[in-house]
């Protein structure tokens, strides 16, 4: 108080000597340089992001198209059920010779001599072997179809699909090419007659694993991932939040809690494959849970996500102003009431953001799943988390190992789907934060 009084009483005197040169130009130059570095860093980041997205999208967008050949299939009774025993024994329909139906339809459509076995073989190779199950499913679902002729869109074989999309170079020598000249001619015939068309590929979203690219999809893997995400959410969120609240609000501050804190931060940095080994030895070898099951995958990912959620939640709890705690305590609220009525609701946006980012991280995790046997060739949808299943990133990993051209585009297509999931989750986190964030 006295200082203020004294300084205001004596008039402010301008220093008489000229100012020392403190290098104002150099300071401005340094600032400009620093800004340039920052811009360069951001542009580099954007460039690589662009390259990544460009590669994935340019490789992958064709995965969402699929060539189909629509043929009038005659469901002839003499081929499907020659002895007419389907009423007594429906399983006969399961084992009927469906490829023969495809062959007959194709021979008729292309005008090939049925006796010329080599030509017939080349022609039937153009249609995916999955046509067999496709026709079987039609007949089993509705046996009344037998004896009629129906136009059925059959999937084209992977190489034909690639050739139709212009991904196979048709100018190279015929013997070094997956698609021969005769097939190219037939493709043209079929395209001209309107039988061969490119359609939106719904199969990539619904099919399971298949060694035939045209019949492979991420549906089964996505269900496995969904099971795991639900398990992670149901376990990691309550455990993580409870642990953070205890550590942040109740635990005494001593060596032990310091040690725990340091180790939680360390756990967040442990390579994920180590969690896979842990899951293998504890959940599968010790606890005897089934291999390849989404349950084990979910538990492993829960362990992996916990540190992320705990760190995010503690940071969110710390960010709640102490004045709110004092206000509640001063009114006679107990510690529990203070936390659950005031602190936690205010920390919720941070908690949810942390949880969603943890989940997104878990969704993209591959390494630990490899160790617990989720690199599996799973064709059917798992009915429960106890059944063998696989996960989205693992499916991508498996497709990336395949040689066919059609799998290359499907790998990129699956990456795009995974990226869309991640972007949607992160957007959800941002929206939740915006929605619930309070200012004071």
């Amino acid at each position: 108080m006295t200082e203020i009084a004294s300084s205001s009483s004596s008039a402010y005197a301008r220093p008489s000597a000229t100012r020392r040169d403190i290098g104002i130009k150099r300071r401005y130059a340094a600032e400009r340089r620093f800004r340039a570095y920052g811009m360069a860093a951001i542009l580099t980041g954007l460039f690589f992001l662009f390259v990544l997205l460009w590669t994935v999208i340019s490789n992958g967008y064709t995965a969402f198209q699929q060539t189909t050949v629509t043929l009038p299939i005659e469901f002839a009774e003499k081929i499907i059920d020659p002895k007419n025993e389907r009423a007594a024994n429906p399983s006969k329909l399961m084992s009927a010779n469906y490829p023969l139906l495809v062959r007959d339809a194709l021979v008729k459509a292309l005008g090939i001599d049925p006796a010329n076995r080599a030509d017939v073989k080349k022609a039937t190779d153009m249609i995916s072997a999955s046509a067999r199950t496709q026709l079987r499913d039609i007949v089993v679902a509705n046996p009344a179809v037998i004896g009629t002729t129906v136009n059925v869109p059959l999937l084209a074989e992977g190489n034909i699909d690639s050739a139709n999309k212009g991904q196979i170079d048709l100018t190279v020598e015929e013997s070094k090419r997956k698609v021969n000249d005769q097939q190219i001619g037939w493709m043209k015939t079929l395209t001209d007659s309107g039988a061969m068309t490119k359609n939106f590929n719904t199969g990539i979203f619904t099919f399971g694993a298949s060694s035939r690219p045209e019949a492979a999809g991420i549906g089964v893997a996505a269900l496995g991932s969904l099971y795991m995400m639900l398990i992670v959410l149901a376990l990691a969120l309550p455990i993580g939040v409870a642990a953070s609240i205890y550590l942040e609000e109740f635990a005494p501050k001593n060596r032990l809690t310091d040690l725990i804190e340091v180790n939680i931060n360390n756990l967040a940095a442990v390579p994920s494959i180590v969690y896979g080994l842990l899951g293998l030895s504890i959940f599968i070898n010790f606890a005897g849970m089934p291999r390849s099951a989404a349950l084990v995958g979910g538990l492993v990912l829960t362990l992996m996500t916990l540190p992320t959620i705990i760190i995010a939640t503690r940071a969110a709890l710390k960010a709640v102003p102490p004045s709110i705690r004092s206000a509640a305590l001063g009114l006679g609220a107990s510690k529990m009431q203070t936390i659950f009525h005031h602190v936690l609701p205010l920390a919720m946006p941070g908690v949810l953001t942390g949880t969603i980012i943890g989940l997104a991280h878990a969704l993209g995790e591959t390494a630990p799943l490899l160790l617990i046997g989720m690199v599996a060739f799973v064709v059917d949808y798992p009915g429960s988390p106890m059944e063998p299943s696989t996960a989205l990133p693992v499916q991508i990993y498996m497709w990336a190992n395949e040689a066919e051209r059609a799998f290359v585009e499907r790998t990129s297509g699956a990456i795009m789907i995974l990226l869309i999931f991640l972007v949607v989750m992160n957007l959800g986190a941002i929206l939740l934060r915006r929605r619930f964030e309070r200012r004071w």
Binding site: M1, T2, P252, K253, P321, S323, I324, R325, S326, A327, A328, L329, G330, L331, G332, A333, S334, Q337, H341, H342, L346, R438, R439, W440
Partner: protein, 271 residues
């Protein structure tokens, strides 16, 4: 009639301060933060329906003493309190005392207005709800109206009770905090520099409010402003370096203090 009784009470209080009974008695109160001792055997009594001002330079222990009165110091791990503090003869540091109940009887208003980021209505009803003082909608409405009336805020906010308490101006927020404390019907209200974040107009309103609240509550206020202490309090206690220097009637304190240090501080020679 109400006016008359209030005036009568005030008159009686002003005339014979020394006959007013003690509400809270602090005997040999010492506070330690870890190894560091912040208060040295303070003996300070708080009289009923009186505004007691605690003054002194920064770090002198006045806020620390204030916070021992409703055990807000309990929330600091390293803090230890010795000595005895009673509220209506009951030792508030007795292990059988429930700190939640104590804080319902001894409310607190803080330096920075800290309304909950909820509606004005919820801010006021929170205390009564957790203490079970009001349960039905009608009771709660009643509490909200009377508390806001007492805090002189009712006319300003009655049409927007369900808007956020943080949307009010600083002075209104602080009066909302006072209303929130009043809603629990405490016997003592502790105020820790309640006007330090407010402009002079809002300060004047809060001071006026403190003056009115005195008829129903015992008030202990920490302040850095000597003028404020002189304006609102009947008793003043001066702290310095963790010691209670002097406690006296405010009039005497500001005209003819017993202790030289008080004189110096009030005259602005240190601090």
């Amino acid at each position: 009639m109400n006016m008359m009784s209030e005036a009568a009470v005030e008159k009686a209080l002003d005339q014979k301060m020394n006959t007013v009974p003690f509400k809270m008695i602090g005997k040999d109160v010492s506070v330690y933060y870890g190894e560091k001792r912040a208060l040295f055997d303070v003996n300070l009594n708080v009289r009923e329906n009186t505004v007691t001002a605690l003054i002194g330079p920064s770090g002198c222990g006045k806020s620390t003493f204030l916070r021992t009165l409703n055990r807000m110091n309990d929330t600091i791990d390293s803090c230890r309190v010795t000595g005895k503090i009673t509220l209506d003869e009951g030792d508030i540091y007795d292990p059988s005392i429930d700190v939640v109940e104590l804080r319902a009887r001894v409310g607190m208003v803080f330096q920075k207005p800290n309304p909950f980021p909820k509606s004005i209505y919820e801010n006021v009803t929170y205390g009564p709800k957790i203490h079970g003082l009001a349960r039905t909608k009608a009771e709660l409405d009643q509490v909200v109206e009377s508390s806001l009336q007492k805090a002189g805020l009712w006319n300003e906010v009655k049409d927007r009770l369900h808007e956020s308490g943080t949307g009010l101006s600083g002075g209104q927020q602080q009066r909302l905090c006072i209303a929130r404390a009043v809603a629990v019907s405490p016997e003592v209200i502790l105020m820790d520099e309640p006007c330090s974040a407010l402009d002079p107009i809002a300060t004047a309103k809060v001071e006026e409010l403190i003056h009115e609240l005195r008829t129903n509550f015992t008030i202990v206020i920490v302040t850095h402003s000597m003028q404020q202490a002189a304006r609102v309090s009947q008793r003043t206690a001066m702290f310095h370096l963790g010691n209670l220097v002097e406690e006296n009637d405010t009039d005497k304190m500001f005209t003819n203090p017993d202790d030289q240090r008080t004189q110096d501080y009030i005259m602005g020679r240190f601090g």
